[in-house]
Symmetry: C2
């Protein structure tokens, strides 16, 4: 029998790494800090991609593709940007056997090279808004890496848009934040808090960075997607101008927004349990596994025939189903598919064949409570309904857990207690980078965001005692 999975309560980090490998999501790579995403993990990414891409197109965005390599001097044009990314760069110095005269940066993000292109593409107000998205790999030379959460190379999408007015750019920034929240909440079943980053946490070169923050099973925060209002910073650095209706030259207002395969890490850490992965049905590569149960060859042939009929009925309803016909015990198969997070298991044995039934076992509700008998008639509709319930219940479970672990704090001591015990601390906060740095140094908790939903009114900054008109969330984060 396989070694038991580490209990997440004992060692969340060890448990996470085990799940990545034992659920067959990814493998280690010979290149430090990179991962090999295996088919089962990649299919989750394909689901996320499709969900995002559909929404990008529905909101008028078009995909394009820009070069992997960026001339070194491009990065230097926006001062904060180069400062933010310089320590993380991979540099190509040799090409075709020769030392390069101009070294090439492997893109850590593409604001600069896309900014340069936009300066050519945009001439007049008629060309605005320009709404572009790119699906790409990027490279950031990270020192401490973890599969999906922080890898040297990762897959993501990066949206880049240009607008005539500040208001248009702000509306776009918030629209894409809403798209991210929609996908993460409704596809990945992860509840998120939309918020604004503090000055010290915002993107290098941005005016404002918005974020969606989720709470993981160890009560740490995961920044799951960011949307940046870049103001005119990049437009001025790359000369992105347009002629307005009065024939005057104006600088554009630009935005960028990105979401990566990090969300897969978020799914693992939000939903996983001591038995392994739990996947939300909408993103699960296998939504339903059918496990046949039999002892004799006669039983086997009757059970397999019925199992195959069930499978065909589900396939016909576009439900992603697998019939596990391996020569292993049912117990082995139960464990295996629980580890891999398949949302729903159908068990069928000789008595079920006789009674025209099948046992459904939900991955979101352990033990007997998660089991029910279904009729084999009209199985697809019953399964589809169960999957819908399951998706909603996983979101509800995660939201309940999160809400129980957000605590209001009125003093630094209270914050320390919350962070120590695990959870998000919420308190009145007046923007103060130095005070943030102190909290981070002393408690490891960082300013996650000013939630967009605010209580209103005023309060007292829990650390400094100053008047503040916003609350902020603090937490340890990935």
């Amino acid at each position: 029998m396989a070694q038991a999975l580490t209990n997440p309560k004992d060692d969340f980090s060890g448990w996470y790494n085990e799940i990545v490998y034992r659920a067959d999501l990814a493998g280690q790579s010979p290149v430090r800090g990179c991962i090999i995403v295996k088919p089962y993990g990649y299919e989750i990414w394909e689901g996320l991609k499709a969900a995002l891409d559909k929404r990008f197109k529905a909101t008028g965005h078009q995909n394009a593709y820009f070069p992997l390599f960026i001339p070194e001097d491009y990065l230097k044009r926006e001062a904060q940007h180069v400062e933010g990314f310089s320590p993380e760069l991979a540099v190509v110095t040799i090409g075709g056997g020769k030392e390069l005269e101009e070294r090439l940066i492997v893109r850590p993000t593409s604001e600069t090279i896309i900014g340069e292109a936009f300066s050519e593409w945009i001439q007049s107000y008629r060309d605005l808004p320009l709404l572009i998205n790119q699906w790409a790999n990027v490279v950031r030379w990270e020192m401490r890496t973890r599969p999906f959460l922080r890898t040297m190379e990762f897959l993501w999408q990066e949206g880049h848009t240009a607008h005539a007015t500040e208001a248009d750019a702000e509306a776009e920034t918030l629209q894409m934040l809403d798209v991210y929240a929609d996908v993460v909440i409704n596809e990945a079943a992860i509840p998120v808090i939309k918020g604004l980053k503090s000055d010290s946490e915002r993107f290098a070169g941005a005016l404002r960075t918005y974020t969606i923050e989720a709470m993981m099973g160890d009560k740490r925060a995961l920044q799951s997607g960011t949307s940046h209002n870049l103001g005119q910073n990049f437009a001025k650095a790359f000369n992105i101008q347009y002629l307005d209706e009065g024939n005057q030259r104006q600088f554009c207002w630009t935005t960028s927004w990105g979401m990566s395969w990090r969300v897969i890490g978020g799914i693992i850490m939000t939903h996983g349990d001591e038995k392994g992965l739990r996947l939300p049905p909408r993103l699960a590569p296998i939504q339903v596994v059918i496990v046949p149960i039999y002892k004799t060859p006669e039983e086997q042939s009757a059970v397999m025939a019925a199992a195959d009929r069930l499978k065909q009925a589900l396939v016909g309803a576009d439900i992603r189903v697998k019939l596990d016909a391996r020569e292993e015990t049912p117990g082995f198969k139960f464990n295996d598919w629980e580890m891999r997070g398949v949302p729903l298991r159908l068990e069928i044995g000789p008595r079920d064949v006789q009674n025209n039934t099948v046992v459904a076992a939900r991955r979101d509700i352990p033990g007997r409570e998660g089991k029910s008998f279904l009729s084999q008639d009209n199985i697809a509709a019953q399964v589809a309904a169960l999957l819908t319930h399951l998706q909603a219940n996983m979101l509800a479970q995660a939201a309940a857990f999160r809400d129980a672990n957000i605590h209001d704090v009125r003093s630094y001591d209270e914050l320390k207690q919350v962070i120590e015990a695990g959870g998000f601390a919420r308190g009145w906060w007046k923007e103060d980078s130095e005070a943030e740095a102190r909290i981070k140094a002393e408690t490891q908790a960082s300013h996650r965001c000013y939630p967009l939903e605010q209580p209103g009114g005023e309060g007292v900054n829990f650390l400094t005692g100053e008047r503040a008109d916003r609350v902020a969330l603090f937490a340890k984060a990935y």
Copy 2:
């Protein structure tokens, strides 16, 4: 008025570059040899991707993702492979501000890193066949580059599979060649010849390389996709072994196969004409453009209302349609959409509104012959039928052109005449790398393939006079 497009008969190469930029498929990039693929070009690539991906999955393949960077020593393990790719490599020597101890190669192709992974993933015959595909960017340091056809970085897919027997590997290699031919013929409307590469033209490290070869408008050949039987070369270099049913260790037999955005170049050069691009309906981002024609405001409002109804009817039938409401003359719009290759144009004016008609103009048939009156009733079904005809006709046009330009040759002089005049030369050929090199040096024509469809029997090698049991195609190529 815009400058006239270069005539492809005068300067095919100049015409090609102009189309790429004027049809808005791609833009120049600040990095030598790279291109920026603009939304209109990228959408063609998305269509090709979807067509391929669907077929890969239908034949049991799964997508995965492997690192961009390959340790330098991996490439060296398969001797021919490293020899083939060494001159073309981009090398990362600096990461995170420090000189790297082991330099990293930006992947030119992934046989090596995937071979290493396969050696871990495969244990027993039960793990076979292993059928993996990767969508990725790769980098080859090319000296002479052309948009889509030969760029330093390009997007492609690379399939990698492992099998228990040589026969299984060969069947897979040929199956994927068939998939490529199916997509290029039936989606891109480009007729191709399936064939086997000669020894000197095959992939570095392969046992056998199969190809699909197409004829471009200047009668040169374009290799449009290749499928390699790698034998046990990579299995031995990367120790990809399995335990067979008798519990004996065996080396696997592996394959790889790739198709890139080069096919977009093939579409341009197969179908384009003196007016610009011509896109096959199945891959056209815009299949139908509606151009409203009016003079007075009263006419405008009646025409636009009717045009909008037409548009909605087509959208409802999943036809990709654009209503061109710009403030430009109809003539300007006709030229613009002809340049961009939209397969079908619908013109609607005041008289059409009165008569409940619309004029359809096909991009594949110039002038009056390509025009017809349609009723506004049931427009979607009529347009769908026209698009189907159009797709088939573009393939037929290209096939007729190609077939008229393949010539049998019995002597070197005849080959020289064919190559000089333009076209493919087909003649009996006994494998001979030195003779091939001589032909290439003297005529620029290369051995394209031994077509899989052979006349049978025997003949005399047109150059050496030796007996030969196969014919081969020779042509200048991209």
